[in-house]
């Protein structure tokens, strides 16, 4: 009894110390999130609800929101996302089947390459597809047609499929390849013809992951900005594009804020549904390793299926990128050289290549800041069970549209003490916000993988917490740090949505510069857009390769 009473105060002291450390670590990241995420969002809500005229703000807001024009925009946003999701699933499911059931040469390489579209910035994708679908496309040259498929719904849909094919492929294939083939074979011996086997056995078991993948693709297409802005042209507008146009073209910030509110609500609901579906996907099945479930193609039908599918993937995924690079080199290095010049009546006040310098500077600062805040967050979270809530909070910026964020910054960062509008710092903060979840997501599993006994031994041997961190944690964690750094860097380099709203004209980033080039007529402008896109694409691909190389096997991004 005496021992218990003595232990209590000491135990409480220890607990207090841990709590204090936890709060201290989280103080800065939470403050950052509060000032640069929640406050701007709050401003959006406030502005959208601000009184305009005599009618009560909410009624007024609702009236404006549900005007026919806006309902049309919301309807289109939903519709194109639904169509894109459907088409992506239609193409991606056969691909998942082929990859799950067959073993063939080059399989790992092709799957890795299919992920490249996903990591490309939207402007690069838009540039690639504009060269594929424009007047000088292959179809036109072969058949002598004069199709300009840019600025059509088809272009948007194709770009969305291009982007999200790998999501379906990875998620569905992941589960499919672990399904016990004996289940299907048992069904066959019990008298089920092949289509019934699929309907009765395979599909029900796959439904959870097909649903999750579909929902994820839907969310990505719903919040798609760059693709719709550039490839959709003036005709098409999703919510994000409408927000952008109201802000930049009409300076109607209140309406833009109202639309942002709708956007935020929709994405919030969708993300919550996704999280619920994710949690319920765990079904205890007898999972099989891949060497059991995968076989070499045996019949002519098998080979045709594999070859056909790989063919589709090549046309859909590789061809646009190849075209992009080829076109950019179409006049030799002329377009690249032009990037260094500043034409008299240029859109820029500096040579376009300066955008590269800007982007790199901003990206480096973003990386440092994101790593710093991310490390603090991860250190605070990895030992706590209830950290899941805070983890979710830090993931929120991922689910919020970047354009909304940009608008929030425009509204919020306008007066002292936060008169950051138009500064480079604001762009860095915006990019950090977008990159922070990735850094935390990389660091947390790595930190959690360190066995506590290692640290305990170090502590017992006399190491202070800081010393233990340097000697024990850091060597194990540096890889995750590198992955996080590369993530933050590449995300920053490619960020377009928020940057397009808050960047000053004389301080463009690469994506903004590409967008400007694409908006202007003329072969030289177009060529420079392609050249810059190729450069940006190379940086992102290099980053991706680096991440894949350093990332511990088995960890997934989503």
């Amino acid at each position: 009894m005496v021992r218990n009473r003595e232990a209590k105060p000491a135990g409480r002291r220890l607990a207090w110390r841990r709590w204090a450390g936890f709060l201290l670590l989280l103080a800065l990241p939470v403050a950052f999130l509060a000032v640069f995420y929640f406050y701007p969002l709050g401003e959006i809500v406030r502005v959208s609800l601000a009184q305009q005229g005599d009618s009560p703000p909410v009624a007024d807001l609702l009236a404006r929101l549900f005007s026919s024009g806006h309902l049309r925009i919301v309807g289109f946003t939903f519709g194109q996302a639904l169509l894109s999701t459907g088409l992506t699933l239609m193409l991606g499911l056969p691909g998942a089947y082929v990859f799950a059931r067959y073993q063939f040469p080059g399989k790992r390489l092709i799957q890795a390459l299919s992920t490249v579209p996903f990591v490309l910035p939207t402007v690069v994708v838009a540039a690639a597809f504009s060269s594929v679908l424009g007047p000088r496309s292959v179809l036109n040259r072969w058949f002598g047609w004069n199709l300009d498929l840019r600025y059509t719904l088809a272009a948007i849909l194709l770009a969305h499929i291009f982007y999200n094919y790998t999501v379906v492929l990875r998620l569905v294939r992941g589960l499919w390849s672990t399904l016990d083939p004996h289940l299907e074979q048992a069904a066959r011996t019990l008298g089920a013809p092949p289509w019934r086997v699929f309907w009765e056995v395979t599909l029900p078991l796959l439904m959870p992951v097909v649903g999750t993948a579909g929902l994820l693709v839907f969310i990505f297409c719903f919040t798609s900005f760059g693709v719709v802005l550039i490839l959709g042209g003036p005709t098409f507008a999703t919510l994000e594009v409408a927000i952008y146009r109201q802000t930049i073209n009409f300076a109607n910030l209140q309406l833009a804020a109202a639309l942002s509110l709708i956007q935020i609500l929709f994405t919030l609901v969708l993300t919550l549904i996704y999280a619920r579906m994710q949690a319920r996907i765990v079904r205890p099945l007898d999972l099989k390793p891949q060497w059991v479930t995968e076989r070499r193609p045996r019949t002519v039908g098998d080979v045709a299926l594999v070859v056909g599918n790989v063919g589709v993937m090549l046309v859909l995924l590789a061809y646009p990128l190849v075209t992009l690079v080829a076109r950019s080199l179409g006049s030799g290095l002329r377009y690249y050289a032009a990037l260094f010049e500043n034409p008299r009546q240029g859109v820029f006040y500096v040579p376009p290549f300066a955008a590269v310098g800007n982007s790199i500077r901003i990206a480096l600062m973003t990386t440092v800041l994101a790593l710093f805040l991310g490390l603090l967050t991860a250190l605070a979270l990895y030992r706590r069970r209830a950290g899941w809530l805070i983890d979710a909070v830090f993931m929120l910026p991922l689910g919020t549209s970047a354009v909304t964020l940009g608008l929030g910054y425009l509204l919020a960062m306008d007066q002292p003490p936060l008169q950051l509008r138009g500064t480079v710092a604001l762009i860095v903060f915006a990019h950090t916000l977008v990159g922070l979840p990735f850094v935390v997501r990389s660091l947390l599993p790595a930190l959690q993988s360190i066995r506590p006994s290692l640290r305990e031994v170090a502590a017992l041997l006399g190491g202070s917490p800081a010393r233990v961190f340097v000697e024990v944690d850091l060597p194990i964690v540096w890889r995750a740090l590198a992955v996080g750094a590369i993530f933050a860097f590449t995300v920053s380099m490619g960020e377009f949505g928020a940057t397009s709203l808050i960047a000053r004209p004389e301080l463009p980033t690469i994506p903004v510069a590409i967008y400007r080039f694409l908006s202007r007529p003329g072969a030289l402008n177009y060529g420079q857009a392609l050249a810059m896109s190729t450069i940006l694409m190379s940086v992102c691909v290099a980053g991706f390769v680096g991440i894949e190389h350093l990332r511990p096997p088995g960890t997934q991004v989503f």
């Binding site: 016990d180 069904a187 019990l190 029900p204 079904r283």
Partner: protein
């Protein structure tokens, strides 16, 4: 005419022959077991019969009909997998009903049949349960009910007791045998466990080196294994290089033995293997007089190894440099390690096996 005929089935797997010219017949209602070590192609043969894999050569005939090219779902041959492959997203009753739904039975009839099958395997109240919650033994019985429900013409069981632990296995072996005989469906059981094979089957086919090396009633195989390999696979380890020396005698490393006239022997000079069946070894104890006229093929040696196993004890006797193994019952003479023993070999229980194989 045989109900199932497997005719010269061959299979090559990744360039290596797995099955070569496998042929046998199964009569209707018969239970045949395929016995052999792991990797001997037993499961593949089962899958070929079920139509899940194509054979590289040969045919499969069921009730006179060549089903070799027929798709699986038309054959009405049900295969029960080793890990049962129960559908995890369905209840027990839905699993059992699956085959019936595929054959488009009426709903009422399906319900009746499902209850019948569950009662047959002793799981009457389990219909609405989820498959995931079941124990290994319960899953096995659900799998059996599911396999029997659609009245298959041929039932194939792949290691039906393989995934269960030892105690469960013995208990379920009896139940399984009883159920199979009650239903009377033609069955092929694949197993690597000889006890299972012998307990379940009317006849057993032993698979070795891509071929069927012996097919007969279990006790016939045991009394007369066809080759030294079959003998050692069955656990009959008293195998010695032998030479026939005429006059129904055989020379082995530890002496010359006389065989009973009823045992087949090649002419003098032939070499092969002598099998001493376990019950051939009789130890001379105080109970058996030394000058017993029945006692021929006498030997003397020492106990090299003694392993107590409860009801029985295993002895290995060192006789002129060879090991002679036998099992004695509790209550028989207990010779300890190092003791000298004398004994004789019953000429009826000696077998000549040709060399090789």
């Amino acid at each position: 005419m045989a109900f199932l005929t497997v005719d010269a089935v061959s299979k090559i797997y990744e360039g290596v022959p797995l099955l070569t010219g496998v042929s046998f017949e199964v009569a209707q209602g018969e239970i045949v077991s395929l016995l052999g070590p792991s990797g001997s192609g037993k499961t593949t043969l089962l899958r070929i019969i079920a139509g899940l894999e194509p054979a590289d050569g040969g045919r499969v005939l069921l009730a006179g009909q060549d089903v070799t090219g027929m798709p699986t779902h038309q054959r009405n041959i049900v295969l029960m997998f080793q890990e049962y492959a129960l559908f995890p997203h369905r209840t027990v009753a839905e699993n059992v009903a699956f085959g019936l739904r595929m054959r488009r039975w009426l709903k009422r009839d399906i319900e009746v049949r499902v209850q019948e099958m569950l009662a047959l395997v002793g799981l009457e109240a389990f219909g609405p349960r989820n498959v995931i919650e079941l124990s290994g033994g319960e899953r096995q019985r659900v799998a059996l009910a599911r396999s029997l429900a659609p009245e298959p013409r041929l039932l194939l069981l792949d290691e039906p007791l393989g995934s269960l632990d030892r105690n469960l296995r013995e208990r379920l072996l009896e139940d399984l045998a009883a159920i199979l005989r009650r239903v009377g469906v033609t069955t092929i059981v694949v197993t690597h466990d000889q006890a299972e094979a012998f307990a379940l089957a009317d006849r057993a086919a032993v698979l070795h080196a891509t071929r069927v090396v012996q097919m007969d009633r279990p006790d016939a195989i045991y009394r007369n294994p066809a080759t030294p390999w079959v003998a050692s696979f069955l656990g009959l380890t008293n195998l010695y290089p032998a030479e026939a020396v005429g006059d129904h005698q055989v020379r082995v490393p530890f002496g010359t033995l006389t065989l009973s006239p009823s045992v087949a022997l090649p002419p003098a000079g032939a070499t092969g293997t002598l099998l001493v069946l376990p019950w051939a070894v009789r130890l001379m104890t105080d109970a058996t007089p030394r000058n017993d006229p029945h006692a021929i093929n006498t030997f003397s040696g020492t106990v090299a190894q003694r392993i107590f196993q409860g009801r029985t004890t295993k002895l290995a006797l060192a006789v002129h440099g060879e090991l002679l193994r036998l099992t004695i019952q509790m209550g028989d003479s207990v010779a300890g390690e190092g003791d000298s023993v004398e004994g004789w070999l019953d000429p009826e229980a000696l077998r000549w096996l040709d060399a090789g194989a």
